[in-house]
Symmetry: C2
Subunit: 144 residues, 2 copies
């Protein structure tokens, strides 16, 4: 918590109240890497460069469309780079840019936390669903 409080404080400097989302790095960064696939891509690329299809195989349940889009967005933000090799059938390799590399450390903290607290979260979830609801499917749904 030692360094957390300072970060929270730093964060608090960015007012959230008046459509300031544009000037709040947290919102901005979260919108980018907080989506379903970006972090997974970064993690996959953390060990070594990957080809498009390798990434597709590595993640399997991403659609090609989302794979392309996620890679484009990450490239656009300078987190990964895209290299085309003009071989016979052109090969494309994606690799982590330095900026992407610098993300690994903070991400590792999160992964660590996820790993540690996974069980607690599921326990809490089960407890909530048991105590609180008869229909444990979703806590909040658009049931028609």
């Amino acid at each position: 918590m030692s360094n957390a409080s300072s970060a929270i404080e730093r964060f608090s400097r960015y007012p959230m109240g008046e459509s300031q989302s544009v000037c709040c790095p947290v919102r901005d960064v979260l919108d980018r890497i907080g989506d379903k696939w970006s972090m997974l891509m970064i993690m996959a690329l953390a060990t070594r460069p990957h080809r498009f299809s390798e990434l597709h195989r590595a993640v399997h349940d991403i659609s090609k469309r989302m794979l392309t889009q996620t890679l484009r967005d990450l490239e656009r933000d300078g987190l990964i780079t895209r290299h085309v090799f003009p071989t016979k059938p052109p090969g494309v390799e994606y690799r982590l840019a330095p900026l992407g590399h610098s993300l690994l450390d903070p991400m590792a903290g999160l992964i660590d936390w996820a790993d540690r607290c996974y069980g607690d979260i599921h326990a809490a979830r089960a407890r909530f669903d048991g105590t609180h609801g008869d229909a444990p499917r979703q806590a909040f749904s658009n049931r028609s």
Copy 2:
């Protein structure tokens, strides 16, 4: 990178290839806190407990619907707690649970990174949009 590599390695133990999303803490946790609002809620609650309307004012551009849902989900996962005070008009207070508190530290790392690299990301984005596209609006869109 020192501790990052170990975390990456730990992550790699969870295969992503065979619909293993259910057993991968990273995916699981990311789906929860990686959404647009959860982290913002946690950050808002980091300093002190908040009432429902306080949170709404603090974030302003969240709809009540999403606010309710986000709070429910966080409560369900044991990250925050919800206290109802049976005062004249019942008041509801949300506060961080210990589990939520333990998230602050890893989150701080990310906020820190966001703060540091915000500029780089925007620079990269501008460069990409300039070099790469005539229509800098979106890198990938469903244009009809």
